[in-house]
Symmetry: C2
Subunit: 182 residues, 2 copies
């Protein structure tokens, strides 16, 4: 049975395709944008989106929501990370971070699968901190600013295998793959 990933973000699709392939799961792209609820919790947002896509996308399918929560900004930009980036860019985000001491941050991903019967949510997170300036050319979104715990490189400075080894998205997708294959 083909598993569909519903997303309008080609970067997310390519990353998920690569990661899931490593766990023996092939996926197809259902390129679709859909409205999301407001909220601070990627798990609630992804679950809500999966429920609303029932009847619109052929199951089994999954959706993904990722947020970036910065301690010194009370969790901003949170689940609005992508929207904030589209408005103020990484340069705006760095202006906002100027002088912020608590640069610890966490990426949180939630994947919500609808298998035709019910919605199941898988989560993954990566702790780290926000670098003082952009570094690296890989990845997308905030990757050039995020240094995961235990590393000195940003996600954007890593080769794919390095990023996947510690990333929030890999953790969530690995949980999905285990569930899916059992």
């Amino acid at each position: 049975m083909t598993l569909r990933f519903v997303t309008s973000n080609p970067h997310k699709f390519r990353e998920a395709e690569r990661i899931l392939k490593g766990f023996g799961v092939n996926i197809r792209h259902a390129k679709l944008s859909y409205p999301e609820i407001r909220g601070d919790n990627p798990a609630e947002i992804a679950a809500d989106s999966a429920r609303k896509l029932k009847g619109k996308v052929k199951p089994p399918f999954f959706v993904e929501d990722t947020g970036l929560f910065v301690d010194g900004l009370n969790g901003f930009p949170g689940a609005y990370a992508a929207w904030v980036l589209s408005k103020i860019g990484l340069r705006g985000f760095l202006r906002l971070m100027k002088g912020v001491r608590r640069r610890d941050a966490v990426f949180r991903t939630a994947v919500a699968l609808f298998d035709g019967k019910r919605v199941v949510v898988f989560k993954g997170e990566a702790k780290g901190r926000i670098a003082p300036s952009e570094r690296g050319k890989g990845g997308f979104g905030y990757d050039s600013l995020f240094v995961p715990e235990g590393s000195r490189k940003t996600f954007a400075q890593m080769v794919e295998e390095e990023k996947d080894a510690v990333s929030h998205r890999r953790k969530a997708l690995e949980r999905l793959a285990h569930y899916w294959r059992n």
Copy 2:
């Protein structure tokens, strides 16, 4: 018939009560928070909220949504103005504005009335610019940073009558009052 204003924000309620009283309309406070859709358009957000509150609040009632759209930030913080403020505060917002040349901004309010039969939306906007630092003690939200066109004072430096004379919220509520009384 009592008109209810559904809001969890006491500042908004007091301001609306004062403004509508001036147009001969008395309102009551339905203190309630409710989920809002994501979006850039206060009119769509308010209309959606009014529809979802049918059956939960006794009609006639209205809801209000206000956004602040800054030109030099591609419309950020937009309809998320209140949420952004709760996270990064006016100090964070001012860091973000540092060096931004196009400081023109617009406040947009939409009021959605459910009269028991249908939802009607009333809009109001106020153009102005973002001041380089906070000024004044009145108002709430971004008022201490917003200088409306034709003035040198921020909303927070004005007495209530001055603010109401030019404010986005007064314009939308005046339209509501005219509709309601006819």
